[in-house]
Amino acid sequence: MVQKNQNSDDLFNQLAEEQPIRDTEESVDASYDNDDRPLEYYERNTPNLTDLQFLIKTLSPDFKDEVFNCLLVGRLSPDTFRPLFRLLVNNEIRRHRGKQIDVIKTATKIYTILTIALDGKHVIDILEIYGSKSSNDELDNISKNMGLGG
C-alpha cells in the first residue's frame, strides 16, 4: 500500500526548479505546415505492408534507373534477350566514358535484371510464392481448427 504524502511532489519540483521552464524557441523553419500530431497518429495511419507488398518490395529492388525498373515488371521475349543485353551494357559503359567503371559488375547486374524480366517470370514467381504462402496459412488454420496441431 502506497503511503500518501502531501509534500511528496516537493522533491521533484525542487529538482525541476534547478532548470526552470524556459520558453520554447520559434520553430527552425516556419514554412512547413502545422503538422504537430502525436507519433501514434502517424503510426496508426500508415498501413502495414501486406505479404504481397512485402514480397514485391523485397524481390523488386529499386535500381534508381527508369529503364531497369521498367524491365523488372515487363515481359522480355527470349529473342530480344541477347541484343538488349549488348545494347544495355554498351550504353552503361558509354555513359561512364572517362570514368572508372567495373565492366564485369555492370554486365552481371544487367544480366540479372534481364533474367528476372525474361518471359515475365518475375511477376509469376512473386504470385506463386504468395499463393503457396497463402495456401500454407490456410492449411495451417484448418489443421489447427481440427486439433491436429501445427
Partner: protein, 223 residues
C-alpha cells in the same frame, strides 16, 4: 501510466548523426506530456499523490516542458532517494526517479558497452533493470545499438531506427520494431519538435576522467 509502461518500457532510438534521433525522443516526451496540440497544457496535476503525476527526466536541456535535468552524476546522487522518506528497499518506498519517463540522450556516453563494468555505467544498468519496479519508461538515444551495454540490448522492448533523406528535410522516417511484432515504417514531421531542445548540446566528460586522460597522455601512456 500503465499505458506508457506497457508501450514504452525500454526503448532504443538509433540512427546516424543528424537523422532525427533526439527529435524522435523528445517527440515521445512531448506526446506523453500532452503538449502536442495547442494550447499547450501540461499533464502535471496538483494531485499530492506522487504516483499519480507524470514526471519527465532528461539528461538534455528542454524548453517549454517541466522536467528534471538528470545527467548521469545527478542520477547516481538520487538513485536511492525516495519522496516519502522511506529507505529505497522498503515495500512502500516511492522513488524520486520513477513514475514517468526518462530520456537519456547520447547514451553511448554513460551506457557504453566498452565501459559496462565501470561503476557509473553499472548504476545506469541497474536503473534499466529496475525500470518496471520504478514505473519508469526509459528512452536511450544512441548512434547504433552495438554501443549499448548487453543489459540494455537484451531488455529493449522497442527499437526505433531513424532516417532522414537529407539534413534540410523535416520528414523523419521511423522504423519501429517491437517484441513479437513485424517492423513498421512511417514518417513524421519533426519541424515542430525542434523548438523543445537544442540539437547541438554537448555532453560534458567529467573533470576527473579528463584529468586521468591528461595524465596518461602527458606520460606517453605509462600512467
Amino acid at each position: 501510466m500503465a499505458e506508457v509502461q506497457k508501450k514504452l518500457d525500454l526503448s532504443l532510438i538509433t540512427g546516424e548523426p543528424g537523422m532525427g534521433k533526439t527529435t524522435t525522443g523528445v517527440k515521445i516526451l512531448v506526446d506523453k506530456c500532452g503538449l502536442t496540440t495547442p494550447p499547450y497544457k501540461q499533464r502535471f496535476t496538483n494531485d499530492p499523490d506522487y504516483t499519480k503525476n507524470y514526471h519527465v527526466f532528461a539528461n538534455i536541456h528542454l524548453f517549454g516542458i517541466k522536467y528534471a535535468y538528470l545527467p548521469l552524476e545527478k542520477l547516481i546522487l538520487h538513485m536511492n532517494t525516495t519522496v516519502n522518506g522511506l529507505p529505497i528497499n522498503h515495500p512502500d518506498a516511492i522513488p524520486l526517479v520513477g513514475y514517468g519517463i526518462y530520456l537519456y540522450d547520447e547514451a553511448s556516453q554513460g551506457n557504453n558497452a566498452r565501459e559496462s563494468n565501470s561503476n557509473d555505467t553499472m548504476v545506469l544498468q541497474s536503473l534499466v533493470l529496475q525500470g518496471r519496479h520504478r514505473h519508469l519508461a526509459i528512452i536511450f538515444v544512441a548512434q547504433f545499438s552495438r554501443l549499448m551495454t548487453w543489459d540494455t540490448k537484451g531488455l529493449t522492448k522497442q527499437w526505433i531506427e531513424c532516417e532522414r533523406k537529407n539534413l534540410d528535410s523535416p520528414i523523419i522516417t521511423l522504423t519501429v520494431k517491437r517484441d513479437g511484432q513485424p517492423k513498421h515504417s512511417f514518417n513524421f514531421n519533426g519541424s515542430k519538435t525542434w523548438r523543445y531542445f537544442k540539437s547541438d548540446e554537448i555532453h560534458a566528460l567529467s573533470d576527473a576522467r579528463l584529468a586521468r586522460a591528461y595524465d596518461r597522455a602527458k606520460t606517453g601512456g605509462e600512467n
